[in-house]
Amino acid sequence: MSRHKLIKQLDLEEELDDYDGGALYDNDENQGISPEDQGTFIIAIVNGEYRLRQGTIRVRDVLGPGFEISDARIQESLWYYYYDVEKSVNYLLSEQTSSNTKPKQKGADLKLSAVDGKSDLNCRCHRRWVENDYDLDFGAFNDPDVPIIHSVTGSSYFKPDVMSTFFNDAPWCNIPPGRQGEILIEPLYPPGRLMGGSSFQGDAKVSKLAAIAAARRMKEDARSRSGTVTSSVALLDKLGNKMSLETPNELEMAPKAATVKPLNPVQADTSKTSRKYPVRERGVLNSNTPEDAIPPVESIISERKRDPETFSIPIALPSAFARTILGPSFERAPTSGQDGPPCDLVGSPYHFFFDVADAKMDAFAEPSPDDVVLKAQTSKGTKTTKSGTGDEIRAVTSALGDVAISEAPKYKSKNLDVLAEFKKTQIKPTANFVVIGHVDAGKSTLMGRLLYDLKVVNKRTLDKYRKEAESIGKSSFALAWVLDQGTDERKQGVTIDIGMNNFETDKTAFTILDAPGHRDFIPNMIAGASQADFAVLVIDASTGSFESGLKGQTKEHALLVRSIGVQRIIIAINKLDTLSWSRDRFDEIQQQVSAFLTAAGFQPKNLAFIPCSGLTGENIVDVSTNVKASWYTGPPLISLLESSEPFARALEKPLRLTIDDIFRGGVQNPLSISGRIDAGSVQIGDIVITVPSNETAITKAIEVNSEPSDWAVAGQNVILHLANIDPNYLKTGDVICSLAAPIKPLSIFTMKVLAFEHILPMAVEVHRGRLHAPGRISKLAAVLDKASGKPKEGGKKVRIVKPGSVARVVVEVDEPVPLELGGKVVLRAGGQTVGAGLLE
C-alpha cells in the first residue's frame, strides 16, 4: 500500500486522540530518570508554571476582556512561544480571525480538537527536550523525524507509545512481512532554479512538487503583503490548519514549509520603502533571540513581483551615434503596408543576422578531426576483425578492392582516348637518335655544331663556352660543351652520361641522345641507345684514329645498337677537314665500315655515309662551300636525319616506361621521373605500377619536351610527376607499367644471344636500357645456326660459345628484373660486352 493511500485513510481525529494519553507517557519517561534529574526537572517545571501563569495574566490584559479565549489555549501558545507575550497575542489574534473567516468545512469543533491534539504533541516534544538538556530550542520542532512517519506497510498505523516494544515478539532476522517497513529514501531532486529551472510561473509546464511550492510561495506572498502576520506566526498557523487539509502532499510539505525564512515585520517595512527597484532580501543570520530561533535554511532570494507603478525599466533611446551604426531606419518608422518584413525591424542589425547565421554555426557543424579519426579507426577495426568463413573473407577482399578504388584520385583523369587524341593532333613525327662512335671521334662536337647551326643554342652561350674552354686550354671542346653539361665531363673532355637535347626541323622533332664513347661508360651508352630509333655513327677520319676506332668502340657500339634493335644508321665521317677533304680516305672508310656493318646485320639500304666536319660545321646543316669538298653532292646531315621514316609505335600495347632518372621536380612535384615511353600511353590521373617494387602511383602531371601535356604516347621522352608513392620504391631502370598489365619480374630466363666474346657459364651483368643487374649464365643450352635459327650439332653439350656465333643461354639474376618476352638484353662481363640478344 502506498503511503499516500495510507495517510489518506488515516482518521486524524482518532489518531490524535490517542496522543492525549500524555500522562501515561510522562510516567514512562519519568521512570527512566535519576532522582537528581527529577529534582531539577521539577524545579524547571515549577519555574515554568510560574511564568506560565504570569504570562496568561499579561496576555489577558493585552487582549482585553472582550476577547473570548480559554486559559488553556493561552497557556499553550505561551508554551510554544517560550512565554513571549507579544507573539502569543499575535498568534491568538490571527487564530481568531482565521477561524472566523474560514468556511467551516468540517466544523469548528473538529478543527479545534485537531489543533489541540497537535499542540499537545508539540508540548510533548518540547518536554522531551527539557528533559534531555534543558535547552528550549524550538528548532527541534522542525526535526523531520519527529512528526513524520513516512510509511508503514500493514493495516494499522502504529502508535509511538508501543514503539519501543514493537519488535519484541519478532524473531531476529525473521520479521513477519506484515510488519516489515518500507524504507523510502527521498530522491535527490536538483535544487530549484539552477540551470534548467525556470523561475517564471505560469506558461511552462511544472512538476507537481514545483506547482505546490509555487502555490505556497504565492500564498506566503499574499500573506506577507497583508503585513500583519509574521512568518513564524504563519508557520504555527499552518500547523494549526494543516489538520483540515486532505492532501497528503501538503502534509509532507510541512517540514519544508517550516523552513521559510522568518521575516521581521519591521525590517520588511523599511526595505519596502525608499527602494525603487525590486530588492534582494538580505538574510539576517546572526540573531540570537528566541523568536528568530528557526534558522533560515534556504537563503535563496525569492523574486518579488515588481511594482509596475514605481518601477520602470531604465532603457534609453539610442544616441545619434548608435542610430548611425544601427542603420538609418532603426527608429520605428510608421507602418507603410501590410506585407514585407515587420516594419520595426527593417534596418535593424538583425537584418544581416540571418545571412551569416549559417556561417556562424559552421564551426562545429562538421565532425571534429578527432571524431573523423576515431570513426575511421573503428570502421577499419571492424573490417579487419571480420574473419573466418569464406564468405567473410570474400567480403573483406571485395571491401579491400573497394578501398583500392576509393583511394584514387584527387588528380582527376580526363578519361581521354589517348590514341584518338594522338591521331587528332597532327604533331610532327618525333625521332630519337643516338650518337655513337669511338672516344674522341667528335660526337659531342658534331651535335653541338648541329644545335648551334639550327639556332637551338645561341651565339652568346657558345661564346661563353669558348671563353671558358680557352681558359682551361681546350678551345676545341667548346661545341661539345653544349651537350656535356657536367663539370666532370667538361674537365676531362669526355662525355660520361647520355647528353640529351631536343631540336625541331620543319618536318620532325628530334631528340639527340649523345652517348659516351669511352669504353668505361658503355652501360650509359646502352641506356641511351635503348631509347633511340636510329643511330648516327661518328667516325674519326684522321689517320690512325679510324683504325683504332674500328677495333674499339666503333665496332662495339655498332654491334650494340644493332642488337638493341636499331636498324638504320647514319655514318658521319668526321674531321675530314684535317685531311683536306680527301675523297680517297672517305671511300676507304666507307668501304671498310659498310663491310663491317653489313656483317653485323645492317642492311645496306639502311646505311648512309656523309663526309663532314663538326668543328667547322661543313655538311652538317649547310652543304660545304669548300671547293675541296665539292666532290660530295649528297645532302647534308640534317637532311639525312629528316629522311628517316617515321617509326611504328607500339601504341596499343600496355604502358611500359623504363625510368631514366628520378628527381625532385620542384616544390609541387616532389617526385618526378623521366624516361622514354617504350610502349602504350599514359594520361594524367592514371594509376601506374612500378616493377619490381609493385607499388602503385598516380600520374599527377605529364611533361612532354618540357611542355605540360595531358597525355603521352610511346616514343616520347616524358617526365611524369607521380604522387602517392614513396621515392624509396623507385630506382633507375625500374619499369613503370599500367596497372592492368604489369610486367612480371623474372629471376631466370632464356635468351638467344649473339656472342661478341667467348661465352662460358660465367658471371655477367644484364643490361637493358638503364637497368643493369648482376647475374650469371647458368647454362649454355645450344649454339644456333645463324641463318635458320635452329640448334647446330644436336645432342652435343655446349661448353663454350665462340665470338660471332649465336647461342641459346639460360641466365639467372640475383634479384628479379622486369624483363619481357622479346626484350633486348646486353650481357657484359669484366668491362666488355660479351653478347647481346633477345629474351625468349
Partner: protein
C-alpha cells in the same frame, strides 16, 4: 618638385578646432546628479550588431544632460560610456594548443584612441589589461565551460567612449586629495558596462551560461554639507550618521566627492556575485556599537541593486531580438 618620399597632407588643410577655455557665460562646473540616489542611468543595449562575429552587443549610457536638461557646450560635455563587444567562438583551438577540458576564455578590452580626452595608444596599457582580467573573472563564473572542451572563445570589447574621472580643465593627475579620492570611478563604471555587454554578447553567441552576469556600480558619497551639518561635523566625527550617502551608478562627471566605490558582476537568478571590486575607504557607521551591517555591505548591496536594474534592459533587448528571430523564421511573414 613635390616631395615624393613622404606622405604629404592634402593641399588645403584645416586647422583643428581650439576651444576657448573660459568662454563667457559658461561656468565649467561639474554637473550635478539629477536623478535620485537609487536611480541608475538609462542604458541602450543592442545585440547581434556585428555580422562576422558569433555574438555581439552594443551598450551605451545615456549622457547626463546639463542643469536644465540642456546639453552644455561640446567640449564641456561629459562622456557617456559606449561599448561594443564581439564574441568569437566557441571555436576549435589550434592543433598546437595544449588540451583543455573546458572552454578557454580570453577577454580583451581596448580603448579606442579617441575614447578619452587623453588619447590612448594602440598598445594595451596596464589599465586595459587590468580591466580585462576583471572581466575574465566575471565571465568565467557564468560560462558552462565543460560543454566545450578543446575550444576557445574570445571576448573583444572596444571602448568607443570611456568614462573619465576628470573634466578637461582639471589636472589629469592631481594631487588634490579631494579629487584623487574619486579617481578610478571611470574605470569602475567602464568595467560594469563591459561585464554587461560581454554577457549579452555571449548569450547572443549562444554559448551556454548559467545566467546573465550584469555589472552594477555604487559609491559612497558625501553630499554637500549644509551649514548646520557642517557645524555638527566639526563637533562629531567626520562621518556622522546620515551624512554619507550611497549612490547607485554614479557618473564620474557628476560627482567629485566620492569615498568608495564598488563594482559587482551579479547573477540575479542564482544570487551570486562573480566579480567584486571595491576601491576607497568605506566610512564607519555612525553608531559604531552594533554594526549589523557595515557600510561595505550596504555598498555592495546597492551595487547589486544597480545590476538588477540594468538586467531588465538586457532582458528587454533579448526579448526584442528573439521577437525578430521568431518573426523572420515564420514562413508567412514574407
Amino acid at each position: 618638385m613635390a616631395d615624393r618620399r613622404r606622405v604629404n597632407g592634402p593641399a588645403g588643410g584645416t586647422a583643428p578646432p581650439v576651444y576657448a577655455q573660459q568662454a563667457a557665460g559658461f561656468q565649467n562646473t561639474r554637473r550635478s546628479r539629477m536623478r535620485g540616489p537609487n536611480q541608475i542611468r538609462k542604458l541602450f543595449l543592442k545585440t547581434g550588431l556585428t555580422p562576422s562575429a558569433s555574438g555581439s552587443a552594443y551598450l551605451e549610457f545615456e549622457p547626463s544632460l546639463g542643469q536644465n536638461g540642456v546639453p552644455g557646450r561640446l567640449s564641456d560635455r561629459p562622456s557617456a560610456l559606449k561599448l561594443t563587444c564581439t564574441v568569437h567562438g566557441p571555436r576549435p583551438l589550434p592543433r598546437s594548443a595544449p588540451f583543455t577540458p573546458q572552454l578557454l576564455l580570453s577577454a580583451h578590452i581596448k580603448y579606442a584612441p579617441f575614447a578619452s580626452r587623453q588619447r590612448k595608444g594602440y598598445v594595451r596599457d596596464a589599465n586595459e589589461r587590468d580591466l580585462a582580467v576583471h572581466l575574465e573573472s566575471a565571465l568565467r563564473g557564468v560560462l558552462i565551460g565543460e560543454r566545450w572542451p578543446k575550444s576557445g572563445v574570445d571576448v573583444v570589447i572596444t571602448v568607443l567612449e570611456g568614462e573619465e574621472d576628470c573634466l578637461e580643465d582639471e589636472p589629469f593627475a592631481s594631487t588634490d586629495s579631494e579629487y584623487s579620492r574619486s579617481k578610478g570611478l571611470g574605470m569602475m563604471s567602464v568595467l560594469s558596462g563591459c561585464i554587461t555587454v560581454a554577457s549579452a554578447a555571449i548569450v547572443d553567441a549562444g554559448i551556454d551560461c548559467v545566467d546573465f552576469v550584469i555589472g552594477g556600480v555604487a559609491a559612497v558619497a558625501r553630499p554637500p554639507l549644509t551649514n548646520k551639518q557642517k557645524a555638527k561635523s566639526r563637533v562629531k566625527s567626520d562621518y556622522a550618521e546620515s551624512i554619507w550617502q550611497i549612490l547607485m551608478d554614479p557618473s564620474p562627471a557628476e560627482h567629485e566627492d566620492l569615498d568608495a566605490f564598488c563594482v559587482v558582476g551579479y547573477l540575479q537568478s542564482r544570487d551570486e556575485v562573480t566579480e567584486l571590486w571595491v576601491k576607497g575607504n568605506t566610512p564607519n557607521k555612525g553608531d559604531s556599537q552594533d554594526q549589523e551591517e557595515t557600510v561595505l555591505d550596504v555598498l555592495t548591496d546597492r551595487a547589486v541593486e544597480a545590476a538588477i536594474a540594468a538586467r531588465h534592459v538586457v532582458v528587454e533587448a533579448f526579448k526584442e531580438s528573439n521577437k525578430f528571430r521568431i518573426q523572420s523564421h515564420s514562413p508567412d511573414q514574407g
